[in-house]
């Protein structure tokens, strides 16, 4: 087999960080190559180098035998390399067809004016390749996430007509926000793709990588530490290779059961958010972890946001420590000792461009000052350092910009923003592990478990059933905005995944 794409001794240095260190990669024709590693291990950087977003600091990239150096994604695209982005790169207010051809020379524009019919016909041909049945003149904003991803893929595949020879298609964590059936649909497309191209596939979910890939590379700390063929390895070995420790027992067991008979931290009665949630009631005891679960649109997220004061129009009653309250803003919720880690880390969770320290102290830093008005920078800094060490945040220093950290470390910093609060009573976590690798996920779970042991109450919406069952004391299953089933004492009496799924759909 001849290699389509080879990387030899590729390194990439950023100021203060070595993202890639002497990496060798071969990608063969008609191959799906899996790439796994923790957040910050260099996977995304590698993708960006292949895709032309970054240039290697040293080393060589060869495409079909010839050395190449791409100055931009456009140059890479012209050479037949397309990237399906982790954060999607489509332009929301343009139509599907306009997005498909935005980076290509076209013969259906005359004097700068589109000839819509011809463009839409051409778009339809591209969409057929990925079996996506949407009208080419639909604005991208109106598509689901999975549909947009298929449009991205179609955009990459439409390079075929421009390139002599077959394509290299890169997928950067394509599955992290897809539902299981959407993942199956994506995999079907990836398998079809093999006939006409080579694929590089990044995912945090090891079972996925194993099922789709012909070969897997494991990256750790910017180095290529292992290569395995399909069928030669299993998730446990991969986990060990990438994290450097064994998988089993990575999440602590619950030591102290929560004080269920003590006064309730939070009581929610008949919570209704028009169109999202209907008459949901539950309560949270000190130290209890309540997991909310449901398919997308089940209302679990809206419940979280109501408790944090973001859904201002909710009806029903919410009481914090026995006192009835009306939550109309996050600031009000924070004043009552409620914190919230949002699902949208990049837009709602962290302030990009600011330092890790600034992000950690934004909410409760003033508690370490004088009278809640004057700040005591040294004292709050010490507190931030303490939590940074406890949660093992990997950063050159707390003065580093948060957006330059890996996703897992960003999320730890967002979490510790709340942990600085000495009066924090309840923490609401909305998909806290989205986009995190298994190692970071286990770290975060242990931190959450530890916080609950220390008496913090937690309401949490998870990504997978497995993590819900591992972590929760009580599970509420939501369906169409209502609680369809409730499981108590989850840690001593584990419900089967089947039972939970039955209540979900």
């Amino acid at each position: 087999m001849n290699a389509i794409l080879t990387l030899r001794g590729v390194s990439k240095h950023f100021p203060g960080v070595t993202a890639l260190d002497d990496v060798d990669i071969d990608l063969h024709a008609h191959e799906v190559l899996g790439l796994i590693g923790q957040n910050g291990s260099g996977k995304s950087t590698l993708m960006k180098i292949i895709g032309g977003l970054h240039q290697p600091s040293s080393g060589e990239v060869r495409l079909r035998g010839a050395p190449v150096r791409f100055g931009s994604p456009l140059q890479a695209a012209r050479a037949g390399i397309g990237l399906v982005h982790q954060e999607q790169s489509l332009i929301g207010n343009l139509t599907v067809a306009e997005n498909l051809f935005i980076d290509k020379p076209t013969d259906f524009a005359r004097l700068g004016f589109y000839r819509r019919t011809r463009m839409n016909d051409a778009a339809r041909r591209q969409l057929e390749k990925v079996e996506l049945a949407v009208a080419p003149d639909t604005p991208v904003d109106e598509l689901t996430f999975a549909q947009r991803q298929m449009v991205e893929l179609a955009k990459v595949l439409s390079l075929e007509e421009l390139v002599d020879g077959h394509l290299v298609v890169l997928f950067d964590e394509p599955t992290s926000v897809l539902t299981p059936s959407e993942i199956q649909a994506l995999f079907r497309q990836v398998r079809r793709l093999k006939a006409r191209s080579s694929v590089v596939f990044i995912s945090h979910r090891m079972d996925e990588v194993l099922s789709i890939s012909d070969r897997v590379y494991v990256l750790s700390d910017g180095r290529n530490v292992a290569e395995r063929r399909h069928g030669e390895t299993d998730p446990d070995e991969l986990y060990e290779l990438m994290v450097g420790r064994q998988r089993a027992g990575s999440i602590l067991p619950r030591l102290n059961p929560p004080a269920m008979d003590a006064g309730k931290r939070l009581e929610v009665r008949d919570l209704t958010v028009p169109g999202k949630v209907a008459e949901v009631s539950f309560s949270v005891a000190p130290g209890e972890i309540v997991g909310l679960i449901g398919v997308q649109g089940s209302g679990a997220e809206a419940v979280c946001r109501s408790i944090f004061g973001v859904e201002e129009t909710y009806q029903g009653r919410i009481a914090v420590e026995g006192r009835e309250v009306r939550l109309t803003s996050p600031r009000g919720a924070v004043g009552l000792g409620i914190g919230y880690v949002p699902a949208e880390r990049k837009t709602e969770g962290m302030m990009k461009g600011m330092s890790v320290a600034a992000n950690m102290t934004v909410t409760f830093g003033s508690e370490y000052g004088h009278g809640g008005v004057l700040l005591a920078p040294a004292r709050e800094r010490r507190e931030a350092e303490k939590w940074s060490q406890r949660l093992k945040i990997k950063t050159p220093s707390l003065d580093h910009r948060i957006d330059q950290l890996s996703g897992g470390n960003q999320q730890k910093a967002v979490l510790s923003k709340w942990l600085l609060g000495r009066s924090l009573k309840l923490l609401v976590l909305d998909h806290p592990t989205r986009g995190l690798d298994p190692g970071a996920r286990a770290d975060l779970f242990n931190a959450i478990r530890q916080l609950a042991e220390d008496g913090l109450s937690i309401v949490f919406v998870g990504d997978t059933l497995d993590e819900m069952v591992t972590l929760s004391d009580t599970i509420l299953v939501l369906r169409d905005g209502r609680v369809s089933r409730r499981f108590d004492d989850v840690q001593s009496d584990r419900p089967s995944e089947e039972d939970i799924v039955k209540a979900m759909v």
């Binding site: 100021p15 203060g16 944090f308 973001v310 803003s329 996050p330 600031r331 919720a333 924070v334 004043g335 919230y340 949002p342 837009t347 709602e348 969770g349 962290m350 302030m351 990009k352 461009g353 600011m354 600034a358 102290t361 934004v362 909410t363 830093g365 003033s366 000052g369 809640g372 008005v373 004057l374 700040l375 920078p377 220093s397 003065d399 923003k417």
Partner: protein, 326 residues
């Protein structure tokens, strides 16, 4: 090599000489502009000239300082100069009734109006650019209406105005007031919860909101401070001329914003500060003075002003922090 590492120990964020240039850039630009002006007109170094320059520059500088707060939020206050004119008119009208108490009354009133305007931006979801464009019209119109579109003189011998127009230890009191306001506000920004909320809001309004930062309150006090500084600037103008005119400050609107951006404060919010603005404000003043001293005709002055400002911003902006330029 050794001095590089010494510098990076002192300023950990400075990794390359380029970073250093950008951090010290605004100060370097000011020094270069100053040196140019001195080379054209050495006489400006005389104490009396410096003194007069600072006296004249004080109203603009106080407006620059005030305008910085909305810009740090990623907002903009276009109404500041109109507020300065309105404040001067109202103060002149209130003087006969309230005496010296007119000064705190006007500043307080401006603060309340500014707070209301900041709060309404969030409540009514009107972008600050549009909101303050509207109030710019309202304030200018009010100033014309209240003054019957004419000048109103104030007599000499009124405490606060004698003070603002006077000197202490040879320094113009108006400039000393600028320095005092600058110090106080810089400390507030650096060492109070409210000050830090301004930066958090500017970096990401949504993330700050979701972290418990009060959106409406933060905007309200930033605009309150902007309006209060504007009113103070208006009173300084009044103390210089001893009469109020309904449009006396309107030519300060753009130079005030120029001062903010030349100092290095990003128009998109979250980056920059008051020291930057003070330097930027002085740069704007020096460019103005320089083009006048150089004897350029009026139109050429405007062109030179515009070109120098663009160069200054291009040299000093740290684009890695801002990311998107619109």
């Amino acid at each position: 090599m050794t001095h590089r590492s010494a510098i990076s120990r002192l300023f950990p964020s400075l990794r390359t000489p380029g970073d250093l240039l950008r951090t010290l850039g605004p100060a370097i630009v000011l020094a270069v502009v100053f040196a140019l002006v001195v080379s054209i007109a050495p006489g400006i170094l005389k104490w009396r000239a410096v003194n007069a320059l600072l006296f004249d520059a004080a109203p603009l500088l106080i407006l620059v300082i005030g305008s910085t707060l909305p810009v740090l939020l990623g907002c903009i206050d276009l109404s500041a100069a109109a507020m300065a004119s309105l404040a001067a008119v109202v103060a002149a009208l209130l003087m006969p009734v309230l005496g010296s108490a007119a000064v705190p009354a006007v500043i307080l009133g401006a603060g309340l109006i500014g707070a209301l305007q900041g709060w309404l931006i969030g409540r009514l979801q009107i972008p600050s650019f549009v909101m303050t464009l509207g109030t710019l019209g309202v304030f200018s119109g009010l100033a014309l209406y209240l003054s019957n579109a004419s000048t109103i003189g104030i007599g000499p011998g009124l405490g606060p105005f004698d003070f603002l127009g006077g000197r202490t230890a040879g320094m113009p009191n108006a400039f000393l007031t600028v320095l005092a306001v600058w110090v106080v506000l810089a400390l507030v920004l650096r060492f109070t919860r409210a000050g830090r909320d301004v930066y958090a809001f500017g970096a990401s309004e949504l993330a700050a909101y979701m972290s418990g930062v009060g959106r409406d309150t933060t905007r309200a006090y930033a605009f309150a401070i902007s309006s209060m500084c504007a009113a103070l600037g208006g009173l300084m103008l009044l103390s210089q001329t001893l009469y109020s005119a309904p449009t006396m400050a309107s030519n300060l609107l753009l130079p005030a914003l120029v001062g903010v951006v030349v100092g290095g404060t990003a128009i998109s919010g979250g980056v920059g500060g008051l020291s930057a603005s003070l330097i930027g404000g002085l740069t704007a003043v020096m460019v103005r003075v320089g083009t006048t001293i150089a004897g350029l005709p009026g139109a050429a002055q405007d062109v030179a002003f515009g070109v120098i400002i663009l160069i200054a911003v291009a040299v000093t902006t740290d684009r890695s922090k801002i990311g998107i330029v619109k």
